[in-house]
């Protein structure tokens, strides 16, 4: 058997396993261990939260899973396939879409165009097709446009033709989610989506997550500081502190865990 085939076999996991599995992932920057040997899973159809104090390594861990960073050690499996250190666009194509903690919209593009870029990997037109504007290309562009509008409606953004930079802060967050949905993900990674939102907007977002799961079967991995949102929406919570996993479990379990309380409130010596 060729080495390639062996590798492929090793990469495959029995079907029905977790949607996302991170196995012993570490990330080291120089001498700093940002993420240390973290393992965790996102079950199919789950809403899982990653919490921890600032600088705990949550976003670094996110970046390791979406291909923006190469994990120093460890492996990441998505839907049974090894996606460790794959290029970000391939990870997205595999079905993982994300938003960013510091909003990273294409600021001079309209809301619709932003979502259309999110669909990039789903569109099949070739360069010759784009130039000649073949019937296939025309149909595809039309469908993409319609779908972009639909997604903007799903997240509740009304100003479809507004430039991203001119949108209000909450709307920019919404647009990031719509853009991520453009790639038809199975898993949505949201990095502090409610930062800067008022309580009402946070509630809307919570309902949106539940709606996406119910209607589209999209699982969610959430980094969040707003405990009301985290406790309300999550099936499971993983807590990171100083790059290490210190607790995992249901919201009730995590809330009662003394190590978590210590990490957040400091130890009472």
């Amino acid at each position: 058997m060729s080495v390639q085939a062996q590798e492929n076999r090793a990469d495959l996991r029995p079907d029905g396993g977790p949607l996302l599995e991170a196995a012993n992932v570490s990330k080291v920057f120089g001498g700093l261990v940002a993420v240390n040997d973290v393992s965790f899973i996102v079950p199919r159809g789950g809403i899982v939260s990653l919490i921890g104090p600032n600088g705990a390594g949550k976003t670094t861990f996110f970046n390791c899973m979406t291909g923006l960073y190469k994990p120093s050690t460890g492996r990441v499996y998505f839907d049974g396939r090894n996606i460790t250190a794959k290029r970000p666009d391939l990870v997205t194509k595999a079905g993982v879409a994300r938003t960013f903690q510091n909003i990273k919209l294409f600021r001079t593009m309209t809301a619709i165009e932003n979502v259309q870029v999110g669909m990039h990997g789903q569109l099949r037109s070739r360069v010759t097709g784009m130039v000649l504007r073949t019937p296939f290309n025309r149909r595809e562009e039309k469908a993409a446009y319609a779908k972009a509008r639909e997604l903007l409606n799903v997240v509740g953004l009304k100003r479809h033709n507004e430039l991203a930079m001119n949108l209000a802060y909450g709307d920019q967050r919404r647009l990031e989610i719509a853009r991520a949905l453009g790639s038809e993900p199975k898993l949505l990674l949201l990095d502090e989506p409610t930062a800067g939102m008022n309580p009402q907007e946070s509630d809307e977002l919570r309902r949106l997550m539940e709606k996406l799961r119910a209607e589209r079967g999209i699982s969610v991995l959430l980094i969040e500081h707003d405990m009301r949102v985290v406790m309300g929406v999550s099936d499971r919570i993983t807590v990171l502190d100083h790059g290490e996993k210190i607790a995992e479990g249901s919201p009730q379990e995590v809330r009662a865990n003394p190590r978590v309380i210590e990490a957040y409130l400091g130890s009472q010596a």
């Binding site: 970000p88 510091n102 919209l105 001079t108």
Partner: protein
């Protein structure tokens, strides 16, 4: 003054809205077609202006090519002249007597006249111009990818320096290819500093009659115009496509674009390839029109010249870039020459043409101070440079631009 400008702008917008876009398109095309005849009517000796206009057509194509790389994809390329050189050498090789020994000295003729106008034999390779332009486009596109690939990880200043180096290397390679190329073989590929001349005149594939420029300029003007229209069409289609969106996304935020499923390598290489292809396309045209392919044409200054067209016209806006190309090229080829005698009248002892780069520098400076977004900016660029952004709307959005602004305030 700003109110006057604003009124002017609303008037212009109202005028534009008077007719649908395609009607305006037809009007401009009709004007371009009638242009040589209009010149005949207006000027006693229209050939100088028509000559400058034909040269301008070639430069419009180049500016539109560079606009794909710089304006759409945001990759600052300071060595665009390399693709002009490669395209020009393709027609030098496939449309001249540079290789007299091929086919036992009889030459190769593909849809071109076998004998010269005086009945003598034509050794060397002679391929019809309308085939050569597409061969050259493909060939330069391949070189665009080869030269683009090593720069993929670079951004901004570093990218500019590497492309600048390529712009210097390519002409030097040709200059030194008098005995084999890259040290392979012994064929003379370039005639060194003398360059390849004469270059075949254009002829239609179905006839052996070649065009008679520089004596008769109208036919070659129309060939150039057709090429420009083709390139504009290509540019518009690309801009409004999935690839065009990906280019702008990459320009705006590479990380976000990659995370949205945009293949950065492929997207950037397409920009390089298509930009280069247009450079080669135009290089062929200018090669045959100027009747020579000479390393002296491929100076760094040329890259800057084309880049200036893109910047002055309005990066990313097809119509702005065309306007910029027309303005700079016509100033260079026509206006400065016409003004040549002016300093003498004031008792000054210099030619205007000899200080042309100084004048460009001055224009550029004035433009950058008064209108950094160019004559006809793309809506996007204008917003980037003048956008009145409510900072409170962007608490988390820390692009370099904003950081820069914050630093200035702080």
């Amino acid at each position: 003054m700003s109110t006057a400008v604003a009124t002017l702008r609303t008037n212009a917008t109202n005028l534009r809205r008077l007719l649908p876009n395609w009607v305006w398109g037809l009007i401009f095309i009709a004007l371009a077609i009638l242009y040589p005849y209009i010149l005949d009517q207006l000027l006693a000796a229209p050939d100088d202006l028509l000559d400058a206009s034909i040269y301008t057509l070639g430069l419009i194509i180049m500016a539109l090519g560079l606009n794909i790389v710089v304006g759409f994809a945001g990759l600052l390329d300071l060595g665009y002249v390399a693709f002009y050189a490669i395209g020009a050498f393709v027609i030098g090789w496939l449309g001249s007597q540079q290789f007299p020994d091929v086919n036992g000295g009889k030459g190769i003729h593909i849809l071109t006249p076998v004998k010269s106008a005086f009945g003598s034999d034509l050794p060397g390779i002679h391929v019809n111009f309308f085939l050569v332009i597409f061969i050259a486009a493909v060939f330069t596109a391949i070189w665009g990818v080869i030269l683009g690939a090593p720069t993929l990880r670079l951004r901004g200043d570093y990218l500019a320096i590497v492309t600048l180096a390529f712009g210097e290397i390519v002409p030097r390679v040709f200059e030194n290819s008098t005995s084999g190329i890259f040290g392979i073989g012994h064929t003379d590929f370039s005639n060194g500093r003398q360059g390849i001349t004469p270059i075949d005149k254009i002829n239609f594939p179905w006839t052996d009659t070649t065009f008679r420029y520089p004596l008769e300029l109208k036919p070659v003007y129309y060939v150039g115009l057709a090429m420009v229209l083709l390139v504009i069409f290509l540019n518009i289609r690309l801009r409004d496509s999935r690839l065009g969106r990906a280019w702008i996304a990459v320009r705006e935020d590479e990380v976000a674009a990659a995370a949205m499923g945009v293949n950065l390598v492929r997207t950037k290489l397409w920009a390089y390839a298509l930009g280069a292809a247009l450079g080669g396309f135009a290089g062929c045209f200018l090669g045959t029109y100027t009747n020579t392919v000479n390393v002296d044409q491929f100076e760094f200054g040329f890259s800057v010249f084309i880049l200036s067209m893109v910047i002055i016209g309005g990066m990313g806006n097809i119509w702005g870039v065309i306007l910029g190309a027309i303005a700079l090229s016509m100033i260079n080829r026509y206006v400065l020459k016409e003004l040549n005698g002016v300093p003498e009248k004031f008792g000054l002892d210099f030619d205007v043409t000899s200080i042309s780069f100084g004048l460009y520098g001055f224009f550029m400076l004035v433009m950058m101070v008064l209108r950094p977004e160019g004559l006809l900016p793309s809506g996007r660029r204008k917003l980037e440079l003048h956008g009145e952004v409510d900072e409170s709307d962007h608490i988390g959005a820390e692009s370099d631009h904003e950081l820069y602004e914050v630093r200035q305030q702080g």
